[in-house]
């Protein structure tokens, strides 16, 4: 799976939780889940659980701590996929 595909899957995952449509439409790697997309911090765990299910990976505490923006999420997914 290439980066573009990962981003497309990621966008589909985060869509139900976003509260800023403009930030979502102009999403880049620098987009912040909480500050830009206004995802409720209690919903960020849902994003993480959905990523685990979709990509069939396990995100541990250490990886979860970094999960604040699109870039970090892509990196974590890429690393896990590479280990498979």
């Amino acid at each position: 799976m290439n980066k573009r595909e990962i981003i497309e899957h990621l966008k589909a995952i985060i869509k139900p939780y976003i509260q800023d449509q403009n930030a979502f439409e102009s999403l880049t790697e620098e987009t912040d889940f909480i500050n830009d997309l206004k995802i409720n911090s209690a919903n960020l765990v849902d994003v993480i659980l959905d990523i685990e299910e979709k990509f069939d990976i396990i995100i541990d505490n250490q990886a979860m701590e970094k999960m604040v923006n699109v870039k970090a999420a892509i990196e974590i997914i890429e690393n896990h996929l590479a280990e498979k």
Partner: protein, 161 residues
């Protein structure tokens, strides 16, 4: 320093399924999961502990400049329904929580004595931000005061020290 967090319980019920597999395990320590399991009202305990973590994180983030999704590092020590502390990497924060039928609200401080000094301010008050951290400039003394803002659903709470 101070931090606050409010949870609109009706909105939380719509937004979050805390019974979802993995949800509690990812957000709460073993001790906290046990508190939730034993609670008479588990949902209230989930949001009570969560609001403590969120309020404490606001201070931790300001004190250390560290940003991360670290709910399990913010460990709650639950004295009772309304009182406790949250520890995060040797930082200790004191919390006071208010529970009503409609919301759960926690204020966290670095010192217990601050609780009596905290002032609630009107959410319409103009605040400024540096690096995403809000503050207020006193119109007369021009001294800037730290502010903590929390909004969820029907509720807004803004406090200063």
């Amino acid at each position: 320093m101070i931090g606050n967090d409010i949870i609109d319980l009706a909105l939380a019920q719509q937004e979050s399924n805390w019974r979802r597999k993995g949800f509690l395990e990812k957000l709460f320590t073993q001790e906290e999961q046990l508190l939730i399991a034993k609670a008479k009202n588990q949902e209230i305990m989930v949001w009570n502990l969560w609001s403590r973590k969120e309020a404490a994180y606001k201070i931790y983030n300001r004190e250390t400049g560290i940003r991360g999704y670290i709910p399990k590092q913010l460990a709650c020590f639950y004295e009772n329904e309304t009182k406790g502390t949250v520890c995060c990497n040797e930082h200790v924060y004191h919390t006071q929580t208010t529970i009503t039928n409609d919301f759960i609200y926690t204020i966290a401080t670095t010192e217990p004595r601050y609780f009596s000094q905290i002032q609630k301010i009107n959410p319409d008050t103009e605040t400024r931000k540096t690096n995403g951290i809000p503050y207020l400039v006193d119109a007369i003394t021009l001294i800037s005061k730290p502010v903590s803002i929390s909004h969820h659903g029907r509720f807004w709470e803004v406090i200063t020290l």
